[in-house]
Symmetry: C2
Subunit: 125 residues, 2 copies
């Protein structure tokens, strides 16, 4: 792994939240790193492909990234501060499977995201 890609991964590891490419780029720059936006995008692409991070599209189409543990899981995301918790959902997995079968769909995948306002953001209102 190149130094730049490591820097991107490290920056993502600093915080359990979904962050945009541009945000990450700005943070790295502010932190003294000399890195181009293009490189950040490339690093993120690579990290996504190697399943080291997860991507999530915001409502306005911007891609956001988060360092994630391996394996299938979902996210509980604070719509205010972006902080996330990884959650498992055996119930959801089997539900999706059942629904797909009932309609003769094969090769099934699913995306599940739960949005809310975290304790901290809610109290600091």
């Amino acid at each position: 792994m190149s130094r730049q890609r490591a820097a991107v991964a490290a920056e993502l590891a600093r915080e359990d939240a979904f962050r945009s490419a541009q945000d990450i780029h700005a943070s790295l720059r502010t932190g003294g790193h000399r890195i181009g936006l293009t490189t950040v995008y490339r690093a993120l692409q690579g990290l996504v492909e190697s399943a080291e991070i997860d991507v999530l599209r915001t409502d306005d189409g911007e891609a956001t990234y988060r360092a994630c543990s391996a394996g299938h899981h979902h996210h509980l995301v604070c719509r205010r501060c972006g902080v996330t918790v990884e959650v498992a959902g055996r119930a959801v997995e089997s539900w999706a499977e059942r629904v797909a079968q009932a309609h003769n769909f094969v090769d099934v995948e699913h995306t599940v995201e739960v949005f809310g306002t975290c304790r901290t953001c809610a109290s600091g209102d």
Copy 2:
């Protein structure tokens, strides 16, 4: 509702699938309608706001739209032809609620999409 907006709604009603704004625009034009892309976007915005249609972001950030029945529901989407089935998921609703509560998140929403290949597309392989 203006004539153009009605045309967009009608075009969406023709097919139970998520379709992009540009796709809808092209179909309308091909069908003899004289309508601008801007107007299609505006009509879609309006229909989304009045909850007459659902929006879904594709993996590459493009917005797609579908005529939908009112009320909370999810979709089973064919990744090949885009056809969708509306599905309910009481199990998912309560699961999301439980997960959020467990982590002290409030004001909870969730998105669930199930992707697969529909019978027709799978057999016509």
